[in-house]
Structure formats: C-alpha cells, structure tokens
Symmetry: C2
Subunit: 143 residues, 2 copies
DNA sequence: TCCTTATTGAAAAATATTTTCAATAAGGAT
DNA sequence: ATCCTTATTGAAAATATTTTTCAATAAGGA
C-alpha cells in the first residue's frame, strides 16, 4: 500500500502540501529537517507553509510513512519510510542516509535485559553511523 | 575515574554549576531536559544559569559523563553515564530510564550491512523502550 | 594572598515550534 | 458540472528553545 492509499483509507485528503513533502523526501538522499523540507519545497516552486510541514511530518510519522533519524546534534531529520521493519545508517561526513531492513535478532538480548531489569520491552531504536562509500574515497585521497 | 578526576585531567574547573548538574542527574530516575535540570537545580537551592546547563551538558557529553536519550517526541533528555559501553531502556509510561551494559553482539549484523551498503560502520545507537515494573503493575490493576 | 584565566550569568539575538482562526480546496454527493 | 461539507491550509502571533556576547566572577595554581 502506498502513501496515497494509506491516506484514503484513513479518510485523509491528498493535498498539495502533502504531495510536495513526499516529493521532496523522495528526491532526498539525506534526512531533512522541517525547515530544510520547507526550503526545498519552495525551491521546487511548490509553495507551502512551514506549519504544514510540521503538521504533515507529525501525521506521516504517526502513519509510518516517514521516520525520524536521530543524529549526534540534530534529531529532527526525517526520511521516507519503506513499509516494514527498518533502521537507518547515516554517514558522519555527508549525512547520506540509507535504510537497512531490520533483520537483526535482538530477542536473546531483549530477554536478557527484561530479566535483569523487570521491564517489558516492546520497541527498539537502532541506528548505525559511519562513512559512506563516497566519503571513504575522499578520506583515502587526503591521506 | 570519576567525573571530578576527569575534569582535573583535562584542566577543567570544578565549578558550582557543574557540581549542581551532576547532583541533579544523580538524583534523577528519568532523563532530564536542560530546562528540567535547571529547574531542579533551583529547587535544590543551587542557583545556576540555564546557559550553564546547556554548556555543561555539551561539555559532559563530549567527555562521556552524560548521554543523551532519544524519545519519541523529546530527544533532549540527559542521563548520567557510567563508564564503558552502555545503552538505555526507557519506560513509555513514566519515563523511568535505566542503563544496560552494551554486551550485545552486533558484529555479524554490522558486517552484513557494511557489505550490503559499502558503508564503514563505527558507531551505533541502541535504545529499548517498554514498561517498567511499576507501570506494569499499574496497568494490571486497571484491567 | 595574589594572579591568571576558565567559567559564569544576564541580556539580547537568533531559531524553532505551537496555537489560533478565517479562508481555502479536497472530494463525495447530487 | 456544480454544490456542499469539512478537513486542511497558511498568515500571524504567541511560546519555547538555543546560541551569542561580554563584563564580572571565582577556581585553583603560584
Ligand atoms: Mn530492529
Ligand atoms: Mn551497543
Ligand atoms: Zn558520506
Ligand atoms: Zn514506568
């Protein structure tokens, strides 16, 4: 199910700002802050309000259409989300962000921690960071 | 090595705001935002400036004395960090935050993702969330 | 006790986010 | 095609958060 169907299903409208934001995120290769999304939308001659960016990101996060990426300083980066269990990998140097599928098996770790702490665990946040291929090359050259 | 030694070692001073902030974090059982830390410090009659809270948290994060906890909405929660590799477990309901030691073995997952994406991975962010023992009890009673 | 300078905090500036509300446009009904 | 309902928008104002500046202070070695 794509995002348009998802909105229909919930009785939500397919508005201009919503289209514009998805379009910006589709073209992005890094996560983008609300401000950045707004700016790129204007750059593409899709004039939308910054308020709508905030509202749409909140809605889309709720619907699982976008996900938040948590950086060292910045935690307001949003990326398009593919359906299913995924996490993100971020380049320290250029912010390139790619998704990887959540195939990790944390179950034994989770069980261990549940026993140790008495908590019930039902959610996890996992993110990797390092250098993307491009930035590795640039670093090599400099050496 | 405790935080005081660490500061000495770096030629940094043991100031009143720094003591106050550590003291607040030591007493906390959830992560705290800069504002919350400031308020609790005032409540404890340790009058420090909010600016110093920001500056100290930045410094202490750098030094590995505190760590940031990333929540669903809020990502400005700080907790005291024990030395070594740790992650955090947060209660959805009451925000109770406990540390667990980073004994997880992500190496095969990391290798897999490195091969798949061409990235070099050197850092990870892992956080669990769920219900703490207290909040489990409260939920049970309500049922 | 003195001296150096890292650090503080008040204030202002810069940014970021949320709220409000009248105007608009999405999309189902006719 | 046109009408109608109402979800949604965007301008503006209100709030909240974070950073910058800089003179005053106090940490801590001499
Ligand atoms: Mn996962
Ligand atoms: Mn770990
Ligand atoms: Zn890169
Ligand atoms: Zn709890």
């Amino acid at each position: 199910m794509d995002w348009q169907e998802k909105l229909n299903q919930k009785g939500l409208r397919l508005t201009h700002p919503r289209r514009a934001i998805i379009s910006v995120l589709e073209r992005a290769d890094t996560s983008l802050s609300p401000q950045a999304i707004h700016q790129r939308s204007l750059d593409a001659n899709e004039e939308i309000g910054l308020v709508s960016v905030y509202r749409t990101l909140e809605l889309f996060t709720e619907l699982g259409l976008v996900r938040r990426v948590h950086g060292h300083s910045e935690c307001q980066g949003y990326v398009l989300a593919s359906p299913g269990h995924h996490h993100h990998l971020v380049c320290h140097s250029c912010d390139a962000t790619v998704e990887f599928s959540g195939v990790e098996d944390l179950s034994s770790l989770i069980t261990h921690i549940e026993e140790e702490t008495g908590f019930t665990i039902n959610e996890h946040l996992l993110q990797f960071s390092g250098l993307c291929p491009d930035c590795q090359r640039k670093t090599d050259i400099r050496d």
